[in-house]
Symmetry: none
Subunit: 217 residues, 4 copies
DNA sequence: GATGAATGAGAATTCATTCAT
DNA sequence: TATGAATGAATTCTCATTCAT
């Protein structure tokens, strides 16, 4: 092994270490942001959560806001991962299964997602700058699946774009408090039951005919 | 008119002026909070928006947080007003019309609503303290309507509580950015079209049979 | 009674009312100052204590500090009253009796006195401006009595001025906490006993021969 | 020297620097408090006096009040040091000498002591919380000395506790303005003369027989 | 690269004083 | 003359960012 290779390796190793550290900081920061919100979180708290000195943060990010931006713009988020591979949805059963998984996904527990909802989805500027394109991409990808389903006949006639947006909106709504934390104390069974109802409504609508499940009875 | 009456009138007049001023401050503050979020908003901005001196805020509210709480806990919010008189919904057509109105309601434009979503619905403590009971009341009232509809047969079998929550969640989701502001520029017609699709999905589901509108074609 | 007299009477009556009001405000303010100190007391509190509107204070005094100055420079204070008529002290028994009364005087309970101690006696400027001359007058008057006593032989040879100051200092010290409030809980008897000891020391000294009282035993 | 030792030394050095800085701030603050009083002093002035930025104060103390408390509760104060070693007073001459030193001590010039008098000795809460126990300890220690003196016969019969309190009160009184600053301009000789008179009165009382000094004449 | 003390701009809040009613 | 809302300067305290070690 040559000196040059050694040097190369050392460089790569350092790169990896830096990258790992950045990741740790983002995890810690997302956790703090999710709890207190971006503005109320302090760099001191973030540093403590990342087990690092306050000043050291600035070796990895240029500002507190830069950390937030990194969290928001980084891909893939849990929702991303969920929607990432919708391309393979080629029949009704797979689609139903996908909707069920999406609704039941415990995404809201993840600091990452809560931070994005709290900050980007309620802030015009952040949303436009870092999330809009992202969401657009997801929407159009999902819209294509719906469009395919409609053409293939395993979905009823639906406006692909509007439908994609409505589904994403519903998934988001399930991550906010009124859906998550109410009633304050809830058994896991009740929660499952509630989710099942949501899936049912999403799939068959308020006014629709009996859902297949009910038809069986 | 006696002196006493004069005094009474003066007292009442002052009371009204104070109340009006409080209202102005709340409007101004809600507008600022909606744009920048509670934590990032400064009392200086709020005072400027309300066109009074910074110190004068404290003649009407004891703290910045007190202003936020007043906004959040004040009733009725636009959503309240919407759901307030659902008791009269006694047949399918009225129910459908109600859902349509609810989705189309321009509530999201109102600073008031956006402040509540931004702060209370993403903050555990605020939500528990000021909104939880509120939402619970709305939910149970709406659930009763659904329950009535199911019994009367103009609604298919639905879990009343879960359904109520799902509908409210959807209405909320429609007030957040991904549903409102995307794509950034949108013609009113496109927006209406999008809303119509959302209504359609809410009423008839993703997998449902053709909606009545489509059946006509 | 002529119109002029009527007018005169009205004027005098108003004068008296104003004076009475000023007095009330000073009483109230002294009470507040004694508790919280001048700087920490607010005009709002003073107004509340005087049962008057905040703005009305300024019809009687030109500033908060003006109120303090009025309290401090007003005569006679309790100490003044005590020392006012020392001119009649013409023999040993009267002098002893006077010392006893001075030490036992419950002056410290009075807001007036506590305010003077708290503010003027620990503040260079206030003291120089408003109390120095006052104290000097008292001191020289008391020094004359001592001088007379020494000449007449019913007091041992003492430096009149230094003695006057030392006695006044001791009376002051008895109004401060370490002498008043310690130990925290104290029976009235214990307090009397403590005062008696102080009088004894003041009259006969630490190293002196037995006090007359003790000699009797 | 190992790396570990190096690290240890660095740690210790920083600790010392922090401690030194705290001390500087306390000195500066005591000086400001002594002049203007706690409430009227501003953090800006304290910072300026300590020659650091205003915000830096909060790296060493958690609040302005915390600085005051640190000054007040810190031991030993000048008075402490004075009374600390009274245990060795075993005869009349030593006792007389001690009293003389205590009265003549230039303690009042020290900001530290003036701050304690100004704030703690005129403020119920501060006194109870931070000084009461302190004074009690001093008092009981000094009372034991007096008790010993009485038993041994080189002190006349005195109530030990009350006497201890009276002496401490007198020492305190000598630190306040009427004793210190009057008359405004005073030659050192006059001051000494005044102190001597105070000592004389303290030792032999107002009514006592001629002091030893006078007997010599 | 890591540290954490130093900084100072800016935040919320208080309060003596003024002034329209 | 009495009132108390309005004012804004001043205060305490926070915190993102910098920088010497």
């Amino acid at each position: 092994m040559t000196d040059d290779q050694n040097h190369q390796d050392g460089f790569a190793r350092r790169e990896r270490r830096v990258e790992r550290r950045r990741e740790e900081i983002l995890q810690a920061a997302a956790s703090v942001f999710a709890t207190k919100g971006y503005a109320a979180a302090t760099t001191r708290e973030i540093a403590a959560a990342a087990d690092i000195a306050e000043g050291s943060l600035y070796n990895y990010f240029s500002s507190k806001r830069d950390i937030l931006v990194a969290i928001i713009s980084r891909s893939p988020s849990p929702v991303d991962r969920l929607l990432a591979d919708t391309a393979h949805l080629t029949d009704r059963d797979q689609f139903v299964q996908f909707i069920e998984q999406a609704v039941m996904a415990p995404a809201p527990e993840q600091p990452w997602m809560r931070t994005i909802i709290k900050e980007a989805w309620t802030d015009d500027e952040l949303f436009r700058q870092y999330q809009a394109g992202h969401i657009e991409k997801l929407t159009s990808r999902f819209a294509r699946v719906i469009s395919g389903g409609v053409k293939a006949g395993w979905l009823r006639p639906l406006d692909p774009d509007a439908t994609a947006r409505a589904v994403i909106a519903l998934l988001m709504a399930f991550m906010m408090h009124p859906m998550r934390a109410c009633p304050a104390v809830e058994t896991p069974e009740a929660r499952t039951q509630r989710m099942q109802s949501a899936i049912d409504i999403l799939l068959y609508g308020l006014m629709g005919h009996q859902s297949p499940e009910q038809e069986k009875e």
